[in-house]
């Protein structure tokens, strides 16, 4: 039973890992960022490339991926998203286009494959990331075999969630972000540089996705399309938890993960997924603003 609960917790932590960045960009800025999954993918490729070219392990890849994807996020915000604030559908389409661009850039090795140049670690193929020996295998607690890598993911997710919470609720910039979530115009009137804060928020959200990519690369396959299904799960978590609520995302990821794990252990994964979708639909119908909706005026 402990093992099943642990798997559920681990499923939840992976969900939260991807959703954390989305909770910030979608929650704070109202941007449906379809390229979020591609940020995860870029993070995974940073891990692959730093492993091949720098001989670095995943611990080095974590800050590296954060920097690369945060900068990429900043670029996307400055070039595209900034011009489309308040136009929900337009940002959705624009970021979807960006997602396809990023995928193809990786697949075509930034166009170099047209000139017959091959960069090891890029291209359409499947890549793999070496996981340090001490994170492979399992250890046992109370008779239950606990998967080391999954325990590591749970730990990293907890640290990231805590860090995000600290930034959002214990720093001046976090206060500004929360002010913008409540009412962007009022925040601007109070002297907050909304453009600058938005750009930083988007970069931070993208950076979190990059770290998610590093973690996911250790147990999933790395390939150009890998991010697309993850972004769907991410949105499920954010919508169920309540847009703009960090705590909501943490809880809904945990709940969905445990339900998935429990149902899968008695029946199978396909049915578990259907149950998860069913629960999300029910919650959206009963509480359209999610479990932990902010009260607005």
């Amino acid at each position: 039973m402990l093992e099943v609960l642990f798997i559920g917790l681990s499923l939840g932590s992976v969900l939260l890992l991807v959703a954390l960045g989305l909770a910030i960009t979608y929650g704070a800025m109202g941007v449906i960022n379809m390229a979020h999954g591609e940020m995860v993918m870029v993070g995974a490729y940073v891990t692959v490339l730093s492993g091949i070219w720098l001989g670095a392990n995943i611990f080095v890849a974590i800050p590296l991926a954060f920097i690369v994807t945060a900068l990429l996020g900043l670029l996307i915000e400055k070039l595209v998203v900034r011009k489309l604030y308040g136009r929900l559908l337009d940002t959705l389409l624009a970021t979807w286009g960006i997602a396809i661009l990023i995928q193809q850039a990786v697949r075509l090795e930034f166009g170099l494959s047209f000139f017959g140049i091959h960069i090891e670690g890029l291209g359409p193929g499947l890549q793999n990331v070496a996981v340090p020996e001490f994170l492979q295998g399992a250890f046992s607690i109370g008779g239950a075999e606990i998967n080391r890598y999954r325990a590591f993911i749970i730990l990293v997710t907890a640290i990231l969630a805590l860090l995000t919470w600290l930034i959002m609720y214990r720093t001046p910039i976090g206060t500004q972000v929360r002010a913008i979530i409540r009412n962007p115009k009022m925040a601007a009137a109070c002297g907050i540089d909304v453009e600058r804060v938005n750009a930083l928020t988007f970069a931070f959200g993208s950076g979190l996705a990059g770290i998610a990519g590093v973690m996911v690369s250790g147990f999933k396959t790395v390939f150009p399309d890998m991010g697309t299904p993850m972004v769907v799960d991410g949105f499920l978590v954010v919508v169920m938890g309540g847009v703009g609520s960090l705590l909501g995302s943490v809880f809904s990821a945990g709940i969905l993960g445990e339900i998935n794990g429990l149902v899968a252990s008695v029946t199978n994964d396909i049915l578990a997924r259907a149950v998860v979708f069913g629960i999300v639909i029910a919650i959206i119908i009963l509480k359209p603003k999610g479990l932990f909706a902010l009260k607005g005026r």
Partner: protein, 423 residues
């Protein structure tokens, strides 16, 4: 005067035109033999060069192109050069159908080499049957097909399982099977054949589970395997799910020496993608492995790497079939003396070729290919060590899941005997 000659010209033109249309309507063959006179034979090559499946299909495309260029270098087919018309199926069955129609109707090729997934093959099948054209299909597949317009050069279930299951039970001494697969027709048919063989050989299967195609979250399933009391896992998992599966397997503390994964789809490609350390000690059954230790195969691997300009490129079963089926086709064309779909089908039966993995023969009865089953154990360098091989090629039985045997064929030269097929 001027007007008169014009009239004659036009009459000639119309007459000629009518003839041409008439000819075109009877058969595409007239045109391809016309192409022969020009000293070339056009063939279609149809794999996905873009999209998710391009990872594997690009290598099949390359192997086909390599065989064609080798044949051309050695003087072609009956002195005629092969010209390949390559199309991109884009990992989408509908695109496969459109491109197949284009190759058959517009380019008038007498043969297409192509398709990897069963979904794409099923999508193009009507084109080849309706237009009386010919497809050479290089992939191992689930069987249950008996078309006179397809030559199947990959393995069918009995060629991957008929020595595998008895070997697991007798040599490895494992009797309790946990069968796991991706949720679509190939793994389900493989499971069906496996169960027949497991029961016949005195083993038992304790679970038969499926996950969605592309599923990469294996936590619950591996936990289930761990608590099931099985002593061997038979995996029909395909694609990138394989990678996540083997990684989770090791990460939950399972080892291949106590509980080996015996797979039917895990090839050199997936092993390279997951990192060999996760697969060391597990087994796969295929007719071909890159590690086959013969001069012919080593030479083939070297030539392929040179051809694709990648010193680390891996070869695998479907890739080898993509290569040798072009040679089988060449032999049939040479025997027939002409390159029409009818003539090639009539002469392909009984054609043998010394492929990189050993002798292969197309069986005239069902147009499937006799191949030599092999079992390999994966090593730390990402290559398989051949631990068991049949001493001769095994006859292909596409309906083995429904009781087909070599002495009681369901699919014969006359077509499918549906009276024997009890579903």
């Amino acid at each position: 005067m001027k007007g008169n000659s014009m009239a004659i010209d036009r009459r000639k033109f119309i007459k000629g035109g009518l003839l041409a249309t008439g000819a075109a309507m009877t058969s595409p063959a007239v045109f391809s033999s016309g192409a022969q006179a020009a000293g070339e034979i056009k063939v279609g090559v149809l794999f996905s060069l873009t999209g998710g499946l391009s990872i594997v299909e690009k290598s099949l495309h390359d192997a086909t192109m390599m065989a064609i260029s080798e044949i051309n270098e050695k003087g072609g087919v009956n002195g005629m050069k092969i010209t390949a018309v390559a199309e991109d199926g884009a990992s989408d069955p509908k695109t496969f159908n459109e491109k197949a129609s284009k190759l058959v109707i517009q380019d008038r090729v007498p043969t297409v080499f192509g398709c990897y997934t069963s979904a794409s093959r099923k999508a193009v099948l009507p084109v080849f049957e309706k237009r009386h054209n010919l497809l050479f299909y290089p992939t191992y597949y689930e069987g249950f097909e008996c078309s006179k317009n397809v030559v199947y050069t990959g393995a069918v279930p009995n060629q991957q399982l008929s020595n595998f299951i008895p070997w697991i039970i007798k040599t490895l001494g494992k009797k309790k099977f946990f069968i796991v697969g991706s949720n679509y027709i190939y793994p389900r048919e493989m499971a069906k054949v496996s169960k027949i063989l497991i029961e016949k050989n005195g083993g038992q299967w304790i679970a038969d589970e499926y996950l969605e195609l592309g599923h990469s979250e294996w936590g619950s399933m591996v936990n289930k395997i761990k608590n099931s009391g099985c002593d061997v896992v038979l995996s029909n998992v395909v694609g990138d799910s394989v990678v996540a599966f083997y990684r989770e397997f090791k990460n939950q503390g399972l080892t291949h020496d106590k509980l080996p994964i015996c797979a039917t789809v895990t090839s050199e490609i997936e092993i390279a993608a997951m990192g060999p350390e996760y697969a060391v000690g597990s087994y796969t059954s295929f007719p071909y492995f890159q590690a086959i230790d013969t001069p012919a195969n080593k030479d083939f691997v070297a030539r392929y790497r040179k051809f694709v300009n990648d010193p680390k490129a891996v070869t695998h079963h479907a890739l080898e079939c993509s290569y040798f089926q072009v040679y089988l086709w060449k032999q049939a064309v040479e025997k027939a003396g002409k390159a029409t779909p009818e003539a090639i089908v009539a002469n392909i039966g009984g054609q043998s070729f010394d492929a990189p993995g050993g002798k292969v023969t197309v069986e005239a009865q069902n147009l499937h290919t006799a191949l030599t089953p092999r079992i390999a154990q994966w090593q730390a360098d990402g290559q398989g060590k051949i631990v068991n091989a049949y001493d001769q090629p095994v006859f292909p039985l596409p309906y083995v899941a429904y009781g087909e045997t070599e002495s009681n064929l369901f699919c014969t030269a006359k077509g499918l005997d549906s009276a024997k097929l009890k579903l």
